[in-house]
Symmetry: C2
Subunit: 233 residues, 2 copies
């Protein structure tokens, strides 16, 4: 199955570079690029987890993947970038899904929740969840990774807001509510990610989705939550 028609059987494929697999009726060059990209991500997550983010130099990584440092920077914008790629891919996919979303009478916040869950459902790349888990655990230990992650969440939010303004009947461009709705989605997702990565569970995508749903349902109660001062004796 899935035999290439025209390309004269490159066959030069090395050993552990199986992934990507599906979804490629792509030109050979593109596939190679994707393959080294994926190899860089996987090896990075592995090395960073073993020796620590700061304990691994880019030279180490590039040597392990047998790629020049120059090539690394053609695929990723920074050392942090390669290690946060899995989540980055998801947020990018969300933007794509927002292009074809439909509020259909529901509140915007609810639509965004459903869209994110749908996006999550589409992250079917082999082992995506495991990569996200490794990535998130690294991010908790490595400030610069955490910062980088938050940053592209922010960029995604802005891009998403632009899409909403283009596709929905949002009159006032200064109305903070749609922007805050996106912030809430991002916040809820990140909290879900935290608890999911912390719990000892097997870490499947389905479990993550369940945590995300829980976080979403917690949102309304957040506004009314009332507690007292603790007894300080």
């Amino acid at each position: 199955m899935t035999t290439q028609p025209s390309p004269p059987s490159p066959a030069a494929a090395a050993a552990p570079l199986a992934p990507i697999a599906l979804a490629d009726r792509l030109p050979l060059r593109e596939r190679k690029k994707l393959r080294t990209r994926q190899a860089l991500i996987d090896t990075a997550l592995e090395l960073f987890t073993e020796r620590g983010f700061d304990g691994t130099t880019l030279d180490d990584l590039c040597e392990a993947v047998e790629v020049s440092k120059r090539t690394f920077f053609r695929n990723f914008s920074s050392k942090e970038d390669v290690a946060t790629a899995p989540l980055h891919d998801m947020w990018t996919a969300l933007l794509d899904d927002l292009e074809s979303c439909d509020p259909g009478g529901r509140p915007v916040l609810e639509m965004l929740q459903d869209t994110l869950l749908a996006t999550l459902d589409r992250m079917t790349t082999e082992d995506w969840a495991r990569r996200v888990r490794l990535s998130h655990r690294l991010a908790e230990k490595t400030p610069s990774m955490g910062a980088h992650g938050l940053h592209f969440c922010d960029r995604t939010s802005r891009a998403a807001l632009a899409i909403l303004h283009r596709r929905l009947t949002l009159a006032d461009p200064y109305d903070l509510r749609p922007r805050l709705a996106l912030d809430m989605i991002v916040a809820a997702f990140n909290r879900a990610l935290e608890t999911w990565a912390a719990r000892p569970g097997s870490g499947t995508r389905a479990e993550l989705a369940a945590h995300v749903r829980d976080a979403f349902t917690a949102i309304p109660g957040t506004l009314t939550l009332t507690v007292g001062l603790r007894d300080e004796t």
Copy 2:
């Protein structure tokens, strides 16, 4: 007014180092340290605004302030850090205020809003608002600064959550609501900051506070906001 009693009149103070002023019955050494710190912040904001963040090297900055690079890194953890210091100070002050807050029957979210506004009211350092404005405008142009800013918002949220758990009657440590409440506060504040920095207004602290109040009031409506699909003909 406010003449120093014991110190044998240092008088070596250079020209534009007036600030700090109040609140120092501090030992001379501390005051000097604070003074160079402030000089670094102000000069950094100035140079970064003029020549751009990437167009200014730390050597440039250190030379301008007449300080060694080693000294710079004793005061700040990174190049981004010095340029985001004003807001960083505010978030730190918020943690302080949270140590003595009291829900008094109000919802937690509301208490947090009031506390943040109170903290904002206490940022009385000379020209604080102007610095924040410069800093934020730089952060919008400089990804690494934006990332750094988001990062310490995140760290502050975590620290704040710990304080809440210690001081308030929050039974379940896994309850996401207090954490989400903090996320909402941070998000609302950042949105307020954005609009405040974008508007041509004079940029006073009072104006910022007004924007923050607006953002806070927009929160409940965020959950119910409903719009339709735009007509795509």
